[in-house]
Amino acid sequence: MTEKSPLTVLDRPNSFIGKSVSRAGAKRLLEGRGTFVDDMTLPRMVHVAFCRSPFAHAKFGAINSEAAKAASGIISVVTGRELAEYCTPWVGVLTHLQGLKSAPQHAIALDKACWQGEAVVAVIAETRSQAEDAVELVEIDYQELPVVADMETALDDATPVIHSDLGDNLCFQREVDIGEVDKAFADAHCVVEETFNFGRHTGVCLETRAIIADYNPSEEHLTVYLSAQAPHMMKNLYAKHFGLNEDKVRVVCKDVGGSFGIKVHTYPDEMATGALSIMLKRPVKFNADRLESFVTDIHARDHRVKARMAVSKEGKFLAIDMDDLTGIGPYSVYPRTSGIEANQVINLTGGPYTIENYRANARVVFTNKNGMCQYRAVGHPIACAVGEGLVDAAARAMDMDPVELRRRNLIPDDAYPYTYATGLVYEQLSHHQCLDKLLEMMDYDGLRREQAEYRDKGIHRGIGFASMIEVTNPSPAFYGVGGAFISSQEGCTMRLDHTGGITCTVGVTEQGQGSDAVMAQVAATAVGVPMENIRIVSGDTDVVPYGGGTWASRAAGIGGEAALRAGKALRENLLEIAAIILQADAAALDIQDGAVVDADGGTERMPLSELGRIVYFRGDTLPKDVQPELVVTRHYVPKAFPFAFTNGVEAFYVEVDVDTGFVKLLKCWVVDDCGTIINPMLVDEQIRGGVVQGIGGALYEECLYDERGQYLNATMADYLTPMAMEMPDIEVGHVETPTKDSELGAKGVGEAGTTGAPAAIMNAINDAIQPFGKHVSDMPFTPERILKALGKV
C-alpha cells in the first residue's frame, strides 16, 4: 500500500458511506410494479378462508360442514384434527427465559378456542370469495367457557386456568434485586411513585399478512412465498412442523408491505396454509383481511407498571423499584416467545442513568385475548416511559428543571464502557452530547419563554423530554442461546459479472426500510464501483447466505458489515488477477469507479468489464496455475458485546386543549447516535417513521376488548392510526459514535423513534397541565383520559 492509501474502507475514494443515495428498489414500487404476495397467482392455486371462533374461550364439539362442502367452488373443508396429521403443534418457549411455559398450539384449534379469532375450520375454494361464502355455512357447536380477560386477576385462585396442564395462568416471571434498594428508599430525600398503563396496540401493516404455499409432492419440495422478515427462520419451522427435509423447503420474501415486527412470528393460519398445500398437493393462498389482521396479528404492550424512584437531596437517582404485569393472550408466541417484552422492560428501565440500586418484578400472564409478542421497539417504549415518567415526576416534586435533573444523572460520556445495574453493557454512549445538541436545535430557553407567554394567555403548552437507549445488532445472546434456530449472523455473497456489474446476495431482508440500498452502498464502496453497477438480491432462502433477516435493528449493522467484508475480499481477488494481467504489483493498484487504477495518481489501467471478459471467456490467456475467484462470501456475527446499544434523546412541544382534552403536536426533535451513518436520508426517515408509530401508541392506538374478551374496534375506522394532518414536522440530528466491534461501525436505528416518543409526549402533556396540579400516565392519552385527569368528566 502506498502512503496515500486510506486507513479504513470508510475513507475510500468515491465512498458512498454517508451519502443520501436514493433506493434503486423503490422505483418499481412507485410505478405499482412491485410484487406483494397477493399480487401473485400460481397455476392450480386455491384460496383458504377460516371459520374463526366468535368467542374468547369456548369448547366446540360437532362440526357440520355438509352445506359448506356442497357450495360453489369448494375444494375442501378441513378441521384441526384432520390438519394435525400434516402439522405438529409447537410450544413458544426459550431455555434462557427460565421457567417460561406455554401450551402446545395447533395450526387449527382441535377442540377449544382460546381467543376470539382463533381459526377453527379451514375452507378451501377456487376463489377467496367462494371460501368466505362457505365459511358462513359451516355449523360449529360452541360451548362458551369462562373468560380470562383481566390480567390483574389472571393469577387469582378464583380465576379459571386456561390450560389446565400448566397448573396456572403464569407464563413467566422474573425478579431482579440489585444493590440495597430498601436502604436507598429509606435514605431518600424524595420518593416519587406512579402507576403507568400501556394500552394494547398492533402494527397495522398496510399490507396484511399473506402467504402462498406451493407443495410439489413429486420432489417433496415446499416453496413458500411469504410477506415476512425472517425467511430462514420460517424455512426451519416449516420443515420441523410439516415433517419435511429442511433442504427441500424454500421461502421467498418479495416485496413486503410493512412489517414492524408483526411479520416475524409463527401464525397458526399461515402454518395451516402450508399444511393444506401438502394435504391438497397444490398451491394454497391465504391473505388476511383487515378484520383477521386485527384479531390475529400479534399485539404488543398491554403492560401495567407500578414504579417508584428514590432521589437524593442533590437530585441523584438512588434506586428504582418496579412491578410489571402484562397479559399476553393464551399462548406464548412461537418461536420468539411472549416473555421478551417484559424481560426488556425490567432490563432497560432507567438505563440512561447511573442508578445502582434496582429491583423489579415482571409477571407475564395468560389471558383469552389475541397473542402478544415482539413489535417495533419491544419493551423499549414502556421502559423509557416508566423511567422518564419517574424522572419528570421527580423534577416536579423537587421543583427542578427536567433537563437539569437529567444532566445530573445521565451516565457521563467519558464513563464507558459502563455496566448498568441490570447487567447491560454499554460500549460507548453519548447522552450528554445528544442532549446538548437537542437543546440547541429546539432553542430550549426560547421555548420556555414562549410557553410562559402562552400560559399567561390561558394556552397550555408543554415541553417533554425522553432520553433513551436502544438494543441493536443483537448477538446470539438474544435468541440463539435459548435454543431457537434464529440466526444472529449475516452473510453476503458477491460476484463480479463479465459486464463489470456486481451481484450481491444478502441474508438481511428488505421491508421498505432500505436495507437493499444500504447493502449496495457498502458493497459499492468496499469494491470501488459506481452504485449502478451493484445489484442486490435478498429474501430467497435458495439464493442468499444464511442470515437472520430483519428484526431488532440489525440489518445495517450486521448485514452491512458482512457486505463490507465480502466487498473487501472481492476487491483483493480482483486486484490479484488485475496485477497478473497488467504485470503490475497488486499493492500498487486500486479499484475506483468501476476500473482498476494506479493506486498512486488514479490513472485508469483497465475497466472491470475487461477483467471480467478475460476471466470468463479467455482464461486460456492467464497463467496455468492461476484460477481466478470472482465470487466471494463473507459473514459477520457480533461477538464483543451481547448488543450494540445506541442512545438518543427526543423532545416534544405540545398544546393541550384543557376544555376538549385534545393534544396538538406542535413540533418534535430527535438526536440519535447510531454509530456510522451509511445513508443519512434513510436514517432520518427510519427515525421519523418510528416516532410516528410511537405517537400512535401515545395518543391514538388501542386494541379495545370488553370483559368477555370481545374485540371492540377491529376496523381501521375505529382503531385510530396517525394520519398526515395531525403529525408534526420532526427535526432530526445526530451524534456519531461508531461501534468498534465492526469495521463499518454502524449500529441500528429502526426502533429509536418509537422508543422515546410515548415518554416524551407524556412528559410534554404533564408539563402543559402542571398548573392544574394533575398528570396522566395511562396510554393512549385520549381526550377522555386527559379530561378525566383534569377532573372535567
Binding site: S22, L29, L30, E31, G34, L206, S259, Q511, E685, A724
Partner: protein
Amino acid sequence: MSDTLTVNLTVNGEKVSRAIEPRRNLVDFLREDLQLTGSHVGCEHGVCGACTLRVNGEIVRGCLMLAVQAEGAVVETIEGVSDSGEIADLQEAFHERNALQCGFCTPGMLLAAADLLNANPGAGRDQIREHISGNYCRCTGYQAIVDAIEAVGRKRSGQSS
C-alpha cells in the same frame, strides 16, 4: 352469487369488456380480472386509501365502488399514469426524497397527490397534509411525502424549490 353482468369500460386507455359478479368491487376487478396489481387493498372499508383510483377524472376508493358501477367509465390506475408519464415528476420527487418505504400505500398516495396538485399546485404544507389524510402511510411518518409533494407543486407553479 354466480349471476354475472357484462361491463364495458376503458381502463388505462384500453377498452375492456368482462362478465363479472355484481358484488365484485372495482379494485378486486382490476387486480384479479385484469391483473392490474398496482392498486392495493389495505382495509376494504374505504379508510386507508391504498386502493385509490381515478374514475372519470376523479379519485375514488376502489374498494367502495362496485365494478358494475364503472359501466362506460374511464378508469386510470397507477400503471396507466406511470406509463403515460403524467406523474413522472411526482414519482421522481418521491424517489429522491424517499417519500415511500414499503411502497404499499404509494400508488394511492401518488394519485391523491396528483389530484391535489392538478387542482392547486401551490398548495401549502397544511393543505397537502389535509388532502392526503385519507391515505394512510404506516412507514414514513408523512413528512417526506409532504416534502416531495410540496417540491413538485413549487416546480409546477414555477417557483424555485
